[in-house]
Symmetry: C2
Subunit: 384 residues, 2 copies
Amino acid sequence: MEAVPQVRFQVVAECSHTRARAGLLHTPHGTVETPVFMPVGTQATVKGLTQRDLDREVGARILLANTYHLYLRPGHELIRQLGGLHRFMGWPHAILTDSGGFQVYSLSGLRKITEEGVLFRSHLNGDAHRFTPESTVDVQLALGSDILMALDECPEYPVSREYARQSMERTVRWAAAAFRHYAELERRDGGAPRGELFPIVQGSTFPDLRRECALRLAELDAGGYAIGGLSVGEPRPLSLEMVEACEPLLPAGRPRYAMGVGMPEELPEYVARGIDMMDCVLPSRNARNGCLFTRTGRVIIKQSRYRDDPRPLDEECACHTCRNYSRAYLRHLFQAGEILYSVLATLHNLRRYADIMRQLREAILGGTFPECLAALHSEPPEAA
Amino acid sequence: MEAVPQVRFQVVAECSHTRARAGLLHTPHGTVETPVFMPVGTQATVKGLTQRDLDREVGARILLANTYHLYLRPGHELIRQLGGLHRFMGWPHAILTDSGGFQVYSLSGLRKITEEGVLFRSHLNGDAHRFTPESTVDVQLALGSDILMALDECPEYPVSREYARQSMERTVRWAAAAFRHYAELERRDGGAPRGELFPIVQGSTFPDLRRECALRLAELDAGGYAIGGLSVGEPRPLSLEMVEACEPLLPAGRPRYAMGVGMPEELPEYVARGIDMMDCVLPSRNARNGCLFTRTGRVIIKQSRYRDDPRPLDEECACHTCRNYSRAYLRHLFQAGEILYSVLATLHNLRRYADIMRQLREAILGGTFPECLAALHSEPPEAA
């Protein structure tokens, strides 16, 4: 019995001037309209939001959870025992989990990369752990993810060309190992329904390494492809150049996911370069830190200019925050360190991101993506 | 032109075995069913809850806000300018504000009580301020409260009988001054609609002082009466004894408000002694600290017994938290320090309090209050 693909991608429209496309990503937990921005729910929660608000107010149909964090706490076996991550966190829609690799490199003080995998210490208590291409697949299967990521190495920026090549080749070998392991499990289970495993294109800031990595990973015939190692400190034009380098070499019928990007004004740039999926902590983290994104620019809510401002954050926004609360009230909550500030601010920023993505999708479907891109370019960065 | 009373209380049922009664408290912002527990929204927010959830999920029709906090930040004049507290915080239902007195005594390091009022330093920045019986009425009018409290002195526990008498007499003089000031403002404005001012019965733990205070305040013919200085460290039976001492001397047709109480098991005790209104930070603060109240006792969520517990906090609770999330998930959020823990926990505890109050009210209306009291007495304090 052959495995039935549980995740299927349909391109429904393509821009004739750019690489942008609109699609439908069918998953075991519903269909996601692309291009899509995925809110980050690191520890099985998007910080500050109920799953109800994420669903109804933001309109999210897919979120990202962090394999590294959930592996350490509460533990993937506990989550498996409680029916998987969807049930554990009460989220009916799709879930993508990352490979754990990025967090090992960014959060874990001590780590050692070998051919077999990566040894690291928990940022919670210092305990020693090991991730391998096989074990991170097992962890993500225990979580019950709709989309799983193969373990990769995400080098810091900058690295030497030599290290970037070594690292990229290891990432390719690890991806192959993860896919072999996954296929073996599928055979053993008789093709029981599972999520889809995506490999991750690395290669630091070297276009030729990115291209080589994309070509070699394309041989895996995966259900989708991620581009990792972006937004790790390199200049922004370089991030976009890396996407341009590898995107044409990835199978056109499969979704492409740019990991860990980006600022609101970057979203259309990635979409214009053929990206279907993105994620970033930026809208939620910035919200909590007092930076709010609106159609008229950024609002730094602690500024005294907002002290007596009776207007909503964004006059055109339909989110719960903008429908009900003034900038003056949000500023008061922020200054007073109130929990409700984080709740309302996160709700708004994630809705803003979702609205941008919906606007881009509609433009692609309506054949007006280039105009939409130009209009977004002209938006002011700071609020009037 | 005479002032139209904006707040009116109707007793709709009385228990024939206890002093308990059910009533309707009509305010400029809707009618509140009593007995009622009022959630505390210190800084114009009940910590962790949106006003929508407080309204729809908890079912709150009145909340308490702290005059002291709002006077200091963001300032009552700013709130007046922005249309009053209801509009500022987006709360369509009733608001009661305290006198500011209790916070001056509990939060302000330096304070000096004189016949004119109390000098204190802000807990935020050390600035010197003064509250007088007149100024706290002005602050609460700027906030636009439905129910205002007259400035009182809340002595610590224990105090000497001599100090308790001095302090009680000052509280009576301050109440008279607050009422004179309020009446003067009403005359000046031609009876414009306003909230109702309640004086506060003090007298520490001396029943005769409590009685004397109640009798002297009853002469003010106020729209309602508060009993203050409870739960300040005295043994619980003494708190109830103080209520028993003064309650029969307060006008039967006016609501009685026991300030700053209590634990879930204390709520029926106060109601049985003729109390119509209560408030306390306990359900919301305990929620944030990991103590959750259920029909089967307290759940200390950090305990490892809840690690893999798939049950809701309270099987019979209809709140958003219990409908959607397990104890295991709540424990994970608590252990991980996630904002969503505070949101979901606060929602549950406040709903639990509201449910207890609804249960008590229905029992009074149905003539079964004594049985209800007995049943609540037999509930276990710790979860099975």
